[in-house]
Amino acid sequence: MAVPALRRGGGAGSRPRRPGGTTSSLGRWLRGGGPIRAVGLAGAVVPGLVLIGLLVELIIKAIPAIGYSGLHFLTSSTWNFGSQYGTPVTTNGLVHAPGEEFGALPQILGTLATSAIALIIAVPVSLGAALLIAELPRRLAGIVGGFLELLAGVPSVLIGLWGALTLGPIVAAHVSPLIADTLGRVPGLTGFFGQSTGNGQGLFTSGLVLAVMVIPIIASTSRDLIRGVPVLTQEGAVALGMSDLECVRKVTLPWIASGILGAVVLGLGRALGETIAVAMVCGVALSSLPTNLYGAMITIAANIIQNLETAITDPLDISAFAELALALMVITLLTNVVATLLVRRVSGTALPVGRGL
């Protein structure tokens, strides 16, 4: 009987038949793994097809809004769903509710600003913690790892709940006034850090909540990377009389730099797309830019989830949401491409961050 080789990625059944082997080509196809191959291929094309369908749908749906707003979408700060009870008007052959205006600048900036705040907080915290975890005795490191897993696994809606009801009020009562009293008094920084400290719903709290969600990603990846640094190199550094700090700065961090960068970009992608938690703590300010660190704002994702219901009846409103989704996708895909390029070099397993365990 013919025994075709089964190689990884190799053509099963590609080996020449032995004399006196199987007869029909159908039999050979069946025995050579043909059916499972066919079914596997049928499954494997699904993700790609879904992706293409998704893009096509979004682009088609977004075209009316793109034509309606033009560059206004990127430069204006006014977002108006229009008066749904007013007499419909026609612009460029498009019937829609009067007064509609789609300036997404606050949302785009809000998306970028919250993610930036999140990274500024999360990167040093995660790195510091990871450096320590890598040194802890195994059992203790396991317990801390459990906390990281827990934090990564908690549904984002719970982090939003905590942010809105527990963290937000504390930020408003203690943290924000403290920052305003210190950084806010430094000349030149008064505009951004000083002035009214808000009610705990806004840019700063959103950034904090996102930081909590990004930390497990960066910390656990960094920990694994640090553990992968060759012991001999570190021992060499110690033998040369380096202190812990010097060893970390001269040996450990340079060794894992590109991997850390990949982890950071991965976390950034997560922060940019986070929806529900931000929707609960952002303060929902659609048409204005926050005046300082504590002001109410909104992100693209939060707007989609908070306001889609208002838009459901008007096709142009829906179209504007498709355009928003497209904008968000462009932003996240760009970061993700960078992440893939960086992380592929370091490899490692896929991190099921935030969305699950």
Binding site: L6, R8, L245, G273, A301
Partner: protein, 300 residues
């Protein structure tokens, strides 16, 4: 900060070590303290978050929460728990099948450019925010201008399936690729047909990894909110197996929708749902650890 000490040539006087400069000691101490603070900032929020939910949910906890349906803004969460379980089951069946097939094909059969293209398909998919997938799901499946299925079980399952595909696929592909080559070679040397070897030997060795992937998918299905708001809808009634046209409740909805309502009962219900979600997460983490430990023991 002094950094040059390490490069200094050894002194002739062997009996006496050069004194460590105070600046280096202080810098190192500062680094140590900063690390511990960082660790506290990582562990602290996790404890605070869990503690907060427990402190708000446990004192008001009544077992009737899991035996009665929601009535308006109060009552129980039975229909939401059942809805989440039903959606998750559907996701595991549809999304799980597609993902395992994709992972299998990529690891065992695909070659060259086809492999690169197929793989980048699911990798790009993994980077798309779930809210975008939810929006497209709404536009294509639920909305009148799409398939007009209305809110229901099937739209929710399909959207979540797309969200979890990258995770299970990655897990399947990686664990199949990690099966030792000796297993395949041994099977071939024994004259076992390749499909048989795949089914009985290679696949078996990859099972722990695949199960971990399925576990992650389950956790995601249970914990997602944004993509479900406009595909599943919300309902006060016990879910049925009707696929479309009938909204279905899910467990994350009350947390998001009830937390800031004026009614005290609504807030309690919000925290109750949070508590149930936390219990789910803990179960998944424990299950994941058990699988890792058992498969490691198996390998030895």
């Amino acid at each position: 900060m002094s950094e040059t000490t390490s490069g200094r040539a050894p002194t002739a006087d062997v009996g006496e070590w050069p004194a460590v400069r105070a600046g280096r000691k202080i810098a190192n101490l500062g680094y140590r303290i900063a690390c511990w603070i960082a660790l506290a900032l990582v562990v602290g929020p996790a404890l605070w978050l869990v503690g907060g939910v427990l402190a708000n949910a446990v004192p008001h906890w009544q077992w009737s929460v899991i035996t009665t349906n929601t009535a308006g803004e109060t009552g129980g969460l039975k229909q939401a728990i059942l809805g989440t379980l039903l959606i998750t089951l559907g996701v595991l069946i549809i999304g799980g099948t597609i993902s395992i097939l994709t992972g299998l094909y990529l690891a065992e059969f695909a070659t060259g450019r086809l492999r690169t293209v197929l793989r980048s398909g699911y990798e790009v998919l993994s980077g798309i925010p779930s809210v975008v997938l939810g929006l497209v799901g709404y536009l294509v499946l639920v909305s009148v201008t799409g398939l007009d299925w209305k809110y229901g079980l099937l739209p929710a399952v399909l959207v979540l399936s797309v969200i979890i595909i990258p995770y299970i696929t990655k897990a399947t592909e990686t664990s199949l690729l990690q099966v030792p080559a000796a297993y395949r070679e041994g099977a071939e040397a024994l004259g076992i047909p390749p499909t048989w070897a795949l089914r009985k030997i290679v696949f078996k060795a990859a099972v722990p990894g695949i199960v971990t992937g399925l576990l992650i998918a389950t956790a995601i299905s249970v914990g997602e909110t944004a993509p479900l708001l406009y595909t599943a809808g919300w309902s006060d009634f016990t879910p049925t197996l009707q696929l479309t046209g009938q909204p279905i409740a899910f467990l994350t909805y009350p947390v998001f929708a009830f937390y800031n309502l004026p009614d005290a009962g609504a807030k309690i219900l919000s925290y109750d749902a949070g508590l149930l979600l936390l219990v789910f997460v803990l179960l998944f983490i424990i299950a994941g650890r058990v699988i890792v430990v058992r498969s490691r023991r198996h390998a030895e």
